[in-house]
């Protein structure tokens, strides 16, 4: 991009793509903002009226909002912790030279390719079902009372399902990072008399700081909007125990048919996502610098 001519050319060629992306983004946003100011019930179409910020007041003062905000944060935090704390040892194991390593890797990555609805159904009906599930069978085998997961520990059940889906992603990113760790550095540490644990703490873990940051940032984006797993397994219940922000918005729009309030909720979710992103970048983002 040295000359004025190539600069102009670059801009001219970029314009259609940037313009399309802009429209793609701005039209839904504008419509959402517009709807959020209307009293708009799907049960009574054609009677929309402007209500100002009333929808926001309604959404934010709804006791379900705070409950679902808390659920969202617990869900995101727990899944992040589980995937990273389990992903690191898994990646370390998969980095070892073992027979059938490629097959093992393929198997570990597999859950990531299963659709969320399908994996939620599998967990609900085949694993966590209190009568016919695998966990119930195991519990009975050991003489214990089977846990009715979706009644007694519904949020934990959802967390386990989502963590199972995202564990491969974390493992894969961490594994590639491990493979890029200079062998000579490990040998230098060995010459310096570092034990396996010290090598892990002082050499491997600092090397993983950046990929862990990447995992946290990317997973957070997707975990804030977990929906299918909740919809399929608990439907947000019992009560509000597994309702997160995404599910709350869905229930406003398509269970209570209140499009205005749902749009307001959508905008609130955007703000929350930005707040989370701000703090995340503050806390872990400096690992990404050079």
């Amino acid at each position: 991009m040295a000359t004025r001519q190539t600069q102009f050319l670059a801009r001219a060629l970029l314009t259609p793509a940037v313009g399309l992306l802009f429209i793609w983004m701005i039209v839904p946003l504008a419509l959402t903002i517009y709807f959020s100011t209307l009293h708009y019930s799907l049960l009574d179409p054609g009677s929309e009226s402007f209500v100002g910020l009333e929808n926001f007041r309604y959404f934010l003062t709804d006791p379900a909002f705070l409950a679902s905000l808390q659920n969202t944060l617990v869900l995101v935090g727990s899944v992040l912790a589980l995937t990273i704390l389990l992903g690191i040892p898994l990646a370390l194991l998969m980095d070892q030279p073992v027979i059938g390593r490629n097959f093992v890797r393929l198997m570990v990555i597999a859950p990531f390719f299963v659709m969320p609805t399908v994996s939620a159904l599998v967990w609900k009906n085949l694993l966590m079902h209190p009568v016919s599930g695998l966990f119930a069978w195991l519990a009975k085998l050991l003489g214990m009372t089977p846990i009715d997961w979706f009644t007694d520990a519904p949020l934990l059940a959802v967390i386990l399902i989502v963590a199972w889906q995202w564990l491969p992603f974390a493992t894969l990113i961490l594994l590639t990072a491990l493979q890029s760790l200079d062998e000579e550095q490990k040998e230098a540490a060995e010459m310096d008399g570092a034990s396996a644990l010290s090598t892990f703490i002082y050499i491997t873990l600092p090397h993983l700081a950046r990929p862990i940051t990447v995992v946290i940032l990317i997973e957070t984006i997707f975990l804030l909007t977990v929906f299918a797993e909740i919809f399929v397994t608990t439907g947000g219940g019992p009560g509000l125990q597994t309702t997160n922000i995404a599910f709350l918005i869905y229930s406003q729009a398509l269970i209570q048919f209140d499009v205005g309030s749902a749009s307001a909720g959508g905008l609130v979710a955007v703000v929350i996502a930005n707040i989370v992103a701000f703090f995340l970048v503050r806390i872990v983002g400096r690992n990404l610098e050079a």
Partner: protein, 335 residues
């Protein structure tokens, strides 16, 4: 003390024999260079001594104690890696002090030793920088600092200068040699560069295909090579080899003459006659590459400037006292 002895050391990776029995006696305080072409096993031999690889057979003695089953850190050796292998997230201070920290030394003692090592290597202003903020030569010095701070019985250098540019390499070569003499610590240095070997070593080990071809001082290797391989490997430009009738007249299968031991005569008829293919004028030296017909290409070196050019005919007269003779299996014949 740092006397290192190898007795019949062997190493195979599966069916491939990398080291085919190495015997070597390295005196305390000496600077020994392993030199050889790539793939000759010199780095493997160094790693065996370091303990980063396990020997397949034989024993390694450090101060008379067999260390083949001793883990690397307990052998009392420290190593400078080709890539330096600095810890990227630690400061220079952290890098140099890591070994001491792992040994569980108190903080103030670590600091004192690190600062002393840094002062020796002119690294004091950079102690709180990260490796990525240093130049190649400085990183090299940090790697050396990491080695000397532990006051080891021996240093192991694995081609440490190969990532530096030519000028810096010469400078670091001198620094490393001086530092080693100053500390009086045994050093083993691996390189493929015979100039580095000749200039730095007290004794050179020439390796070829997993075997020690010769072990001796640089001049010993230069003046009395044991065989064709050593004769060809040590010395730059390479020794000229002549086979056939001329060699048989001397009672050898091959004779070798170094380029600097060929007298160049213009339009001469004595000696070996040929046409100059390429003449390199360096000012200090003149190298002539002479096409000598049935004898093949010969290289001659003249100290100083010689106004001869491509196409000129010259004759090259070997110094009879400095002709090396080799038998059919390549071993040197001595009078």
């Amino acid at each position: 003390m740092g006397q290192i002895t190898l007795q019949g050391v062997q190493k195979s990776f599966g069916p491939v024999h990398i080291i085919k029995g190495a015997d070597l006696d390295i005196a305390d305080g000496s600077f020994v260079v392993f030199v050889g072409p790539s793939g000759c096993g010199k780095t493997t031999l160094l790693r065996l001594i370091a303990g980063l690889e396990d020997v397949t057979g034989g024993s390694i003695l450090i101060d008379g104690k067999n260390v083949v089953d001793t883990p690397p850190a307990k052998r009392g050796l420290s190593m400078v890696f080709q890539s330096y292998a600095l810890y990227p997230h630690m400061s220079v201070r952290g890098n140099i002090g890591f070994g001491l920290k792992m040994a569980g030394l108190p903080k103030d003692e670590i600091n004192r030793k690190v600062e002393a090592a840094a002062a020796t290597l002119n690294l004091s202003p950079y102690l709180d920088r990260k490796p990525r903020e240093l130049s190649g030569g400085q990183r090299q010095r940090v790697a050396i600092g990491r080695a000397i701070v532990r006051e080891p019985k021996g240093f192991l250098f694995d081609e440490p200068l190969s990532n530096l540019d030519a000028a810096l390499r010469v400078q670091m070569r001198i620094e490393v040699t001086r530092l080693q003499k100053q500390l009086g610590t045994t050093a083993i240095y691996v390189t493929h560069d015979q100039v580095e070997a000749m200039t730095m070593a007290d004794k050179i080990v020439v390796l070829n295909a997993g075997k020690i071809e010769q072990y001796g001082s640089p001049l010993e290797l230069y003046e009395r090579p044991n065989n064709l391989f050593v004769a060809g490997f040590i010395g730059s430009p390479k020794m000229n080899f002549v086979t056939g009738e001329l060699a048989q007249q001397q009672g050898a299968a091959t004779i070798g003459v170094r380029p600097e031991h060929l007298k160049i005569e213009r339009d001469g008829t004595g000696g070996w006659v040929g046409t100059i293919a390429v003449a390199e004028h360096l000012g200090s030296d003149t190298f002539l590459y002479v096409d000598a017909g049935p004898l093949g290409m010969l290289t001659a070196r003249y100290v100083g400037e010689l106004s001869l050019h491509a196409g000129d005919r010259v004759s090259l007269v070997p110094d009879p006292a400095r002709i090396h003779r080799f038998d059919a299996s390549g071993n040197a014949l001595r009078n």
